[in-house]
């Protein structure tokens, strides 16, 4: 079977200057703009009031006693456990002790939660609007050309992605169109942004998407009844069977230093 002759296309070098470079510049600039827009739009996180902090820290305190009880002697542990269990069950650490039986408020009506959601909305908007705009801009102006040839061979499957807008059946998939250059920019400009704006910039979308995926689920997820969490923690504390690292430590230490 005869080797296919290498395809050569004669391109106007002007394509390079008037498509590739403008798209790149526009992408970089939107990234920078997006960064500053999100800096402007961020609202300073609202300060938690003292009761909320107390509730959260008391729960954390219980958790740390549960995990590190082994540093204490039995008596010290039991005093603390009894004290905490009593406080947890009676609701002494609750932000609002008199609402303890009630179902949690609807997150939509809670102004704090609303603010968080608004922030997320804003971020999403800041990401989506420029993307749609640029994509439609590229589609309107630059569709239908192959602008460059990748320096490495790729399989035919990439054809639909790289040559979007170029309806030529037999063209080597290495030829790529402007829209695929746009996608490459989305994924590849991250380091340019890091260089320009510092490592915690809001310009790159990839980083933001990652962030959203691993949104921290704090100890106080909204919509959860704190009293129930306290009760669960009290139960966890109650079932601990105490041992101490200090039991028999003298012999353990002697064995270790002797060796």
């Amino acid at each position: 079977m005869a080797q296919l002759p290498a395809q050569t296309l004669h391109r106007d070098p002007q394509l390079f200057y008037w498509i590739l470079i403008p798209i790149t510049v526009v992408m970089v600039l939107t990234g920078v703009l997006r960064h500053y827009a999100s800096v402007l739009m961020t609202t300073t996180p609202k300060k938690a009031d003292i009761k909320a902090i107390r509730e959260q820290r008391a729960l954390a305190h219980g958790a740390s006693l549960r995990t590190n009880y082994h540093v204490l002697s039995r008596k010290a542990f039991e005093t603390r456990r009894d004290f905490l269990i009593e406080g947890f069950e009676s609701g002494a650490y609750l932000k609002a002790p008199n609402q303890k039986g009630q179902p949690p408020a609807n997150p939509m009506s809670d102004p704090n939660a609303m603010e968080g959601m608004m922030g997320m909305m804003k971020n999403n908007m800041a990401m989506m609007i420029p993307n749609t705009l640029i994509m439609s801009w590229i589609n309107a102006f630059f569709s239908g050309y192959a602008i460059m040839k990748l320096p490495f061979p790729i399989t035919i499957k990439f054809k639909s992605m790289l040559q979007a807008g170029v309806m030529t059946k037999d063209m080597d998939p290495r030829w790529m169109s402007s829209i695929s250059w746009y996608f490459l920019c989305i994924f590849g400009l991250q380091f340019v942004y890091v260089f320009l704006l510092g490592s915690d910039n809001a310009a790159s979308q990839i980083a933001q998407q990652m962030q959203q995926q691993q949104m921290p689920v704090g100890p106080m997820a909204p919509g959860q009844d704190p009293h129930k969490m306290f009760k669960a923690e009290a139960e966890n504390l109650a079932v601990i069977e105490h041992y101490s690292v200090l039991d028999g430590i003298e012999e353990r230490l002697l064995e270790r230093i002797k060796v």
């Binding site: 009031d49 902090i53 008596k75 200090l246 012999e251």
Partner: protein, 324 residues
């Protein structure tokens, strides 16, 4: 070990603090007075990192400690320019500078008033709460300081630093049981901190020596275990071995005089032979540390000179006793 400039200031000795303070003018000269947020300028100025600001803070503390108030003000000014005067940490530093410059009690009272005003507006301001507690303590109002600290710990019960401070305050008042409780709370938060284990051992030993509350035998048993744990966590910890030697000496002394007191529900003492072995091990290790430190062995120079000297004195004292 990180460079002197980056180490937490409280761990520095006087000489080191002076050394740090002397580097301040040079550091101030080398770094720009303010950082621009624009990407264009950041290409031409030295990079800004979080370390820079840690260094500024350390320089500020070192300058105050050595009495170089003008340089301290320069450092503070840059921190204010960067973070704004309303930042919690910066306000605390500003207060600290005022405290350092106060010459009499009435000026300190004024600073205290300012803290209270800030706290009245925002009662969750942790750095200012801590400054207020520290200032109360410095002014000799220990009981008020304890009260404020207990209130602080009520809403922030996972702050090991605060628990340690509380333990120290109680200890200064001779309230051993309370000090031990606070110390244990700090241990719950940082279970593998060998220095906290050793510190608790020291407090327990002091409690046993004062002997006016609780069962001294009990305290001694736990103290012994705490020191053992401390050494288990950190092999060459001088304070751990020093404490171990002290407590075993004491136990052996007591053992020869009177037989073990009644059993209790707490920890029990190990066999006398084990205590003897531990004592020997501690003596040997302390001797090693002192010898290697004195011989200027480069790997053994990390110890505090005062601590080594104390160990040396104690060793020679106890060996004299044996000879006698």
């Amino acid at each position: 070990m990180p460079s002197l400039l980056l180490r937490p200031h409280a761990t520095l000795s006087h000489a080191e603090a002076l050394q740090v303070a002397q580097q301040a003018p040079e550091f101030l000269r080398k770094n720009p007075a303010s950082y621009s947020a624009s990407p264009f300028f950041s290409l031409f100025s030295p990079p800004e990192s979080s370390n820079t600001w840690t260094i500024y803070e350390n320089l500020l503390l070192a300058c105050l400690r050595t009495g170089d108030n003008t340089t301290a003000h320069q450092c503070l000014e840059r921190l204010v320019v960067r973070f704004g005067a309303s930042d919690e940490r910066v306000t605390a530093l500003q207060g600290l500078v005022k405290e350092a410059e106060a010459t009499n009690d009435s000026e300190l009272e004024k600073v205290l008033k300012e803290y209270e005003e800030i706290l009245a507006k925002d009662n969750t301001n942790v750095p200012i709460s801590k400054r207020r507690i520290a200032l109360l303590r410095a002014m000799g109002k220990t009981s008020e300081s304890i009260e404020a600290l207990v209130q602080f710990l009520d809403f922030s019960s996972t702050d090991a630093e605060a628990w340690m401070e509380l333990a120290d305050l109680y200890l200064s008042q001779g309230l051993y049981a309370q000090a031990i409780y606070a110390q244990e709370e700090a241990l719950i938060i940082a279970p593998n901190a060998w220095n906290l284990h050793a510190r608790l051992g020291e407090v327990l030993l002091m409690a046993a020596e004062s002997g006016n509350e609780g069962n001294p035998q009990n305290y001694l048993a736990q103290s012994l275990k705490r020191f053992c744990r401390s050494i288990e966590l950190s092999d060459d910890y001088l304070r751990g071995y020093y404490g171990l030697k002290r407590v075993t000496d004491k136990l052996l002394d007591a053992n020869s005089k009177e037989k073990k007191s009644a059993e209790s529900d707490e920890f029990t003492l190990p066999e006398t032979s084990t205590i003897e072995k531990l004592n020997q091990a501690a003596t040997k290790k302390l001797g090693d540390i002192v010898r290697k430190y004195d011989a200027k062995d480069p790997l053994w120079q990390g110890y505090d000179a005062g601590e080594v000297a104390a160990a040396r004195t104690y060793l020679s004292e106890s060996s004299q006793k044996v000879v006698r």
